[in-house]
Amino acid sequence: MDKKFMVALLVAAMAVILFPLFQSFEGGTQLSELGQYYTQNGVSDTGATNLVASVVVTYRGLDTLGEVTILFLAASIISFFLSVSKDDRIENRTVMSVTEILSTASQTLVPIIVLVGAYILVNGHLTPGGGFQGGAIIASGTLLMFLANPNHKLNHTIIHVIESTSGIAFVAIGVIGVLMMDGGFLSNKLFDLGTPGEVISAGAMPLINIFLGLKVGTELSNVLGIFVESQNEK
């Protein structure tokens, strides 16, 4: 049997199976029951104007914990397989010299990119953004740092300290929510809900966002650092 014919047959079969679905699709004319609940009670429940963040951080906070755990696991595995011991490093490596323009510009650009990441973290409960987004932007600042100076040494001790502290703090806030309040895991009734739309509002959400962002940012930076350092292996 010709391979291409098989592929075409498979595609045709998929088309036949999926066509009724496509035909009966009517678009989002009505919100689901859960969606209706979130849109109607989200702001008054959590005090956050960014509904997506309130779902991610508060309503489905346990899932977020799972995501963070997966990320942590991935980072651990990468550092286990790729980290280079001091004896295995080559003495000297010949690299393409980085242009002066990039190394000069990165000195101003990296702090500004990290600042934008922090801005997205801090405003996570008000405008689109939040922990994961801010963390990813902080990590892209680290990437620029490595592009400007491929032999930059990341301070792993500080990064591990930040990562572990924010991880523990994230779980601690969740557990305190269970123990002290009636809200359950990651309840944000830990603090006063405040007026929706202000920086200090939405209870524990800004704090959770910041810890989440620090954890994601340092983890991704760590992964990048390990990848860069593994280039120096013998």
Binding site: E100, T104, Q107, L115
Partner: protein, 162 residues
């Protein structure tokens, strides 16, 4: 220390512009974050210290911005003429020019300005030599090309960054 202070001010102004509000809580958070970043990422940075902050330099910076915007618009008019002309009148080549600027920031701004102005493009930089891809090569020797390309901006940048 001066570097850190200048970096702090830069970050703080970016923060205020991003938030577009002067709420005291936000300002306090921004100050904390900026302070942290300016010490964590600016241990060796010598970029901003190259900037001259005398009144003359500031006046020249404003003039530079206007000259630059003018050149940017000119660049686009000339390039669109070239692109739309049926015969595609180009005469490309890579020339070498020299700059008198000593500070790294000055050279970076010069290279960026050259990249954004008519028909020239910084391809490589090595110390005081810039290698420039020129769509319409007018002179192939170093001095002639320097006069054509660099001198427009250099007289402003020399005052601004020394």
């Amino acid at each position: 220390m001066k570097n850190n202070a200048l970096m702090f001010l830069t970050l703080m102004s970016v923060w205020v512009l991003l938030n577009a509000s002067l709420d005291p809580t936000l300002l306090a958070i921004g100050a904390g974050v900026s302070l942290l970043i300016s010490f964590a990422f600016c241990s060796k940075c010598d970029v901003i210290s190259g900037i001259n902050l005398s009144p003359k330099a500031i006046a020249y910076s404003f003039m530079f911005v206007f000259v630059f915007i003018g050149e940017l618009i000119k660049a686009n008019i000339s390039i669109s003429k070239r692109v739309l002309a049926p015969s595609l009148p180009i005469n490309p080549g890579i020339v070498q020019v020299k700059t008198k600027l000593k500070s790294k920031v000055g050279r970076m701004v010069l290279a960026n300005a050259i990249t954004l102005t008519p028909g020239t493009f910084t391809l490589d930089i090595k110390g005081e030599d810039l290698f420039i891809h020129w769509v319409d090569v007018k002179s192939t020797d170093v001095d002639g090309a320097t006069k054509e390309i660099v001198s427009t901006f250099e007289k402003y940048l020399e005052v601004m960054y020394g």
